[in-house]
């Protein structure tokens, strides 16, 4: 035992010597080089004035293949386009978001964007402490003059999907799988109904909700039940459950419409289209608004088809031209403001 310990001590001492050399160098030259040059701007300085510094915060990983990833990719595209200095932090919890926002703001970033609904209150709490910094959030509240809140309508894209579903259904029954019966979900169901009604007065919606954002199996079972019940179009907007519902449609050779992102790869012949919520548009709108000065800070913007946040993915070959034309028309109607907001408190057909 003694020998063993001595060997360990020896290993430690040798290792310590080895590790000490680089560690001693670091404090000597690093801070000097670090303080005057916040890395990138030095190279860019001659070309233009100081580049805009934009920071973005995500609550999940940026590789989520959806919401956060779109935002991250948009940020990188903006970086190239406008020569921004960007930084981001991912997987930030609700408990630490305020510290992250303050760190960025204290670091002198021009725009700090929180890409998550649940960060809304934190952004509004931190923003008044840094009046010179602009804050953005994908949320529903902007209580300080340096905050902008960008939100999706969450129904305009569904309305377009409803137009497609209403025209494509033969049994006049459309299955709709969502997560809950919340006001947002009810708005979506009613938007689907309104869209379908435009070209099909006899349409019926079978609304099913899974109660969970990640219950793939339940979504699949529910979609299967609806198909057995006569539905011949499945529209799925149920988080991860969307995949399950489309899977059910695939097994029963039924048309499906996806949501959030383009789901055609799941069943290329059967997924007619997907109503896309392009979460990358938020940061783009915020940054371009800051550069062009055409956004009013201290306001909540609810964005939809007109602003390019919501739209339909490319149609598959099963969709005939007249449906495409109808969607075109519906899009134009919505941009012109002819489509009223659907009710959020009850089913329209009740």
């Amino acid at each position: 035992m003694k020998k063993f310990s001595l060997v360990m001590i020896f290993v430690l001492l040798i290792g310590m010597l080895a590790a000490c050399t680089p560690a001693a160098e670091k404090p000597a030259d690093q801070p000097v080089a670090e303080t005057p040059a916040p890395e990138k701007p030095a190279a860019d300085a001659p070309t233009a004035e100081k580049p805009l510094r934009v920071a973005m915060v995500f609550n999940t990983t940026i590789k989520d293949g959806g919401y956060a990833q779109f935002g991250y990719e948009a940020l990188m595209a903006l970086k190239e386009k406008y020569n921004l200095e960007v930084s981001y932090q991912e997987s930030v919890g609700d408990a630490t978001i305020k510290d992250v926002l303050r760190s960025y703001a204290a670091d002198g970033y021009d725009l700090v964007y929180a890409h998550e609904l649940y960060f809304t209150e934190a952004v509004n709490e931190v923003a008044p402490e840094f009046p010179d910094v602009k804050f953005g959030v994908t949320g529903y509240m902007a209580s300080s003059p340096n905050v902008i809140a960008l939100d999706a309508t969450n129904w305009q894209g569904v309305y377009l999907a409803g137009v497609v579903a209403g025209m494509m259904t033969k049994s006049n029954k459309i299955a709709m799988v969502t997560v809950s019966q919340s006001p947002i979900a009810l708005t979506m169901v009613n938007a689907m109904y309104m869209g379908a009604l435009t070209h099909n007065p006899n349409v019926q919606i079978l609304h099913l909700f899974t109660g969970s954002f990640d219950d793939v199996v339940k979504a699949k079972e529910m979609a299967t039940a609806a198909i057995k019940d006569g539905a011949d179009i499945v529209y799925a907007n149920a988080g991860l459950g969307t995949v399950g519902a489309i899977e059910a449609a695939k097994e029963h050779n039924t048309y499906a419409i996806g949501s959030s992102s383009d789901r055609s790869s799941l069943a290329p012949d059967l997924v007619l289209t997907s109503n896309i919520l392009d979460s990358g548009r938020y940061i783009t709108i915020a940054v371009e608004g800051l550069i062009n000065g055409d956004l009013e800070w201290g306001k909540v913007y609810v964005l939809g088809v007109k602003e390019g946040v919501e739209y339909l993915a490319p149609f598959n070959n099963a969709v005939p031209q007249d449906v495409k034309d109808a969607v075109q028309q519906a899009t134009q109607d919505m941009i012109d403001g002819k489509v009223p907001t659907p009710p959020s408190d009850k089913y329209m057909w009740e």
Partner: protein, 369 residues
């Protein structure tokens, strides 16, 4: 001929000289070993960072700069320090009393619930009184939560490791339920609890940072707790029960009483950490209120060898890691998963160094330090 009678330093075998040095300077040696472990972990982490295509010096610079190098980061580090210190104290006191409490996470959450109940719903109090009541309520809730597992152990012999761990999940889901239902803030769109009143908020002690009064409270409480354990009769009883229940019983110590005091202390400390985090930093319970402080506290206590100075230093290290990791991501663009790897490396190395120090002290002293 004279060499035989008066051996000079050179003639002593090298092995004995090393041992002698180690014996005389055990404190310094063990500190050096810990520091070396951290450096080694950072060194390996640096290699990983370099493999990911990022300049490791830049990343390490941000780790230091982010947690100490600027005013805000410094304040943030000391703010993270508070709940970590309480949860590690909680684990350490339980350990001293022969009680394995891995439920600090749940007790901390319940402490925050206690804080919200008094902080948000009791109105019209003087700020000093309100803050004190809030903290006491947090202590009470934490103590009750630990008490459930403790009473099960005392009266039914149920294993407290399982019970405290399972109660973490109960607490987590209970808090989820509370912030979605009874405690939900009526004027928020999200599932968060009501915000505590301004009179229950702790004052900031360093302007332009989040550092709040809880930091000073935490240091005072640490001193008080170790005074209780090492300098009072009940502390002696707690430690004796912890060392050997049967011997303690034979010596006439009231085991139930000592265990109950230990329970109140351990649960109360975690609950107090939750209440202070609520009153100083977050002001309301959000989803994921405790970012794993209860679990990190176990590592901190082990790393700090259950002694006050060690725990304070280890807590500081964990807080620096927590804050610095964010800065590494923001400044140098180190990917988040890699940060978790480096954090794991530091913990593994430091705990391994603790083992090494124990072995070393067994060798040179013939017992544990």
């Amino acid at each position: 001929m004279s060499e035989l009678t008066t051996p000079n330093a050179l003639s002593i075998p090298i092995k004995d000289r090393v041992l002698q040095f180690a014996r005389n300077n055990m404190g310094i040696v063990s500190t050096l070993i810990s520091i070396f472990a951290i450096i080694l972990a950072l060194f390996i982490g640096g290699i990983l960072i370099a493999l990911a295509g990022i300049n490791p010096w830049e990343a390490v610079t941000y780790l230091i700069k982010g947690s100490f190098g600027n005013r805000y980061g410094f304040g943030e580090t000391l703010t993270r320090f508070v709940p970590l210190l309480f949860s590690s104290l909680s684990f350490a006191i339980a350990h001293k009393s022969g009680f394995f409490n891995v439920g600090a996470e749940g007790q901390l959450l319940m402490g925050a619930v206690g804080g919200v109940l008094v902080g948000a719903y009791v109105t019209g109090l003087n700020p000093v009184l309100h803050v004190i009541l809030c903290i006491l309520s947090g202590v009470l809730f934490g103590a009750i939560w630990a008490g459930i597992a403790g009473l099960l152990k005392i009266f039914l012999g149920a294993d407290e490791l399982i019970n405290t761990m399972m109660l973490n999940y109960v607490a987590l889901l209970l808090v989820d339920f509370l912030i979605q239902g009874p405690l939900k803030s009526p004027d928020s769109y999200l599932f968060v609890s009501a915000t505590i009143l301004p009179s229950a908020k702790l004052p900031i002690i360093l302007s332009k940072t989040p550092l709040h009064l809880g930091f000073i409270i935490s240091l005072v409480v640490t001193a008080a707790v170790f005074y209780l354990v090492y300098r009072t009769p009940i502390g002696f009883q707690m430690r004796t029960v912890g060392a050997n229940r049967k011997a303690a019983s034979y010596a006439g110590i009231n085991i139930v009483w000592a265990t109950i005091i230990a329970l109140i202390t351990t649960g109360g400390l975690a609950g107090m950490g939750g209440a202070l985090e609520l009153m100083g930093a977050q002001f309301k319970i959000v989803n994921g209120f405790s970012a794993g402080y209860g679990y990190d506290g176990i590592g901190v206590a082990v790393m700090g060898r259950y002694n006050p100075i060690g725990i304070i230093l280890a807590t500081l290290l964990f807080a620096v890691i927590r804050v610095g990791m964010g800065a590494m991501q923001r400044g140098a663009g180190v990917p988040f998963p890699l940060l978790n790897v480096i954090q794991g490396l530091i913990i593994v190395f430091v705990i391994a160094s603790g083992y090494l120090t124990n072995k070393l002290s067994e060798t040179v002293i013939g017992g544990r330090a």
